[in-house]
Amino acid sequence: VAHFVNSRGARISNGIVNGGRGLPLTIGVYGADGLSVGPNDPSIAGIARSGGADKYGVTWFQLTGKRPGNVMVEAKMAGSVWDFFQLKVGEPTYLGAEAAWAMGPPRFNGCYTQNPNEVPTKRTTPAPGDVVTFLHQAWSDLTEVGARTLTAQFMHETGNGQSCYNWNLGNVKCKPTETTLPHMYLKNTWELLAPAAALKLVTESQGLGFLATEDEIRAHKWSRRGGTVIAVFEPPHYIARFKAYASLAEGAQRWMSHHRGVASRFSGYLAAVNAGDCVLVANILFRAHYYTGSEGDYARNMTAKKAQIDRQLGSARS
């Protein structure tokens, strides 16, 4: 039986759906063949069909509020209403992922755009042994222990490599104009902003941004500073665009070169790295503003990762 669904495919028949003036809302109709679908008062909302039925038999529409008010949205045939829901059009709040009306899955062979420099986002989790080997070969001042120490730092920064995509170590960003470099997009790029600034940016995001609800904040384990709200940007918004590298060696160049820079500025750094002194390494990196979190947590995590690597690789050659 034909029925209305929301963008996530959940049934919304007979219900009340909140919409915003000028804010397109994605809705679907299961079994829409032969039905006429739309609001019964076109002065309150307009509707546009987005292609034919998908593989689940759902035809998708964009419903856009024109002025504040309530309107019945119906799927009917020859005067018989098969299904309906009420759309309540108010001023848009941009609250919740639903407000990001242009958000969707990658549609072009795993990419979000047709830019030839975009590559599909993929998790690239290097084996610790590969990182150690790479570091050992690429930086002759590093001992085997030193290479393991920096590998521990990498493993800590990337959650054992699980948060490393397209060999981009540290989530290096692209500028808005850097679309000629290999790049990829990451979902749920979030930012803490004053409410007015957040609303402005989300309004200007062309359907790729929204303000996170309390439920979404909890679900993603995001946290807020006082007086801020969380604005979230989705691919292919430029805030969600990051550089993509072809290999670990390519992606690690900048990271390694930065550590070399730290070693040249902080005299004890290389010795601490080569001694496997994660506490001192964490301290120097903190003083170099490499990270902003808790120094104690960083040192503890690095120490644990280093021990894990040592267990995995056996004793280090001197």
């Binding site: 989530n171 960003k173 900048r254 930065h258």
Partner: protein, 193 residues
Amino acid sequence: VTRGRDALAAILLLAACSRRSPATPPAPPVAQAPAAVPAPAVAPQGDRLRIASRGAVSVLAIAGPRLSFCDAAGLHELSLPSGRVLSQRDACPSTAVPRALGPEVTVRTPDLGPDDIVEVEGVATSFPIEGHARDWVSDAGNVVVVATATRVLEILPASEKRVTLSETGAERVAAGSGWAAWWDGAAIFARKL
């Protein structure tokens, strides 16, 4: 070296801006503004110049004592510090133009969190910022200008100091010849550093 870089940046900008479709008639001499391209409104505002823009600004660059930008009306070139319009053309580059040269500035988002960290090639110290960088540029490594949604910052890598240039945020930045410029979505601001 800096002057040479400025000149190169200016050449790159103008070369890119001079690209026109085959159907378009040849460009008028650079110094003559075609009547069809309205001059931007320029006004001093405290310690800076405010230059009204029309629509989105696609290119913003400073080379020598000149500020160049492209908006919906075309390419504009202004003299600094006077703000006098030097030239205008109705064609803008269709692709991104190489901008300031110098050490690479990298911006990373640790843990995909809410804040970014700015790093300058060859500088051991990093510069954490609040929020995500919208645009950033280096003037030969001496100065880095970074725009977030709520601020424009000047970072001095040598002294590790930072100066807030604007508390309203920006989407595009440029730096060169001791000047910084930024576009906040409605106007361009240029300020001597």
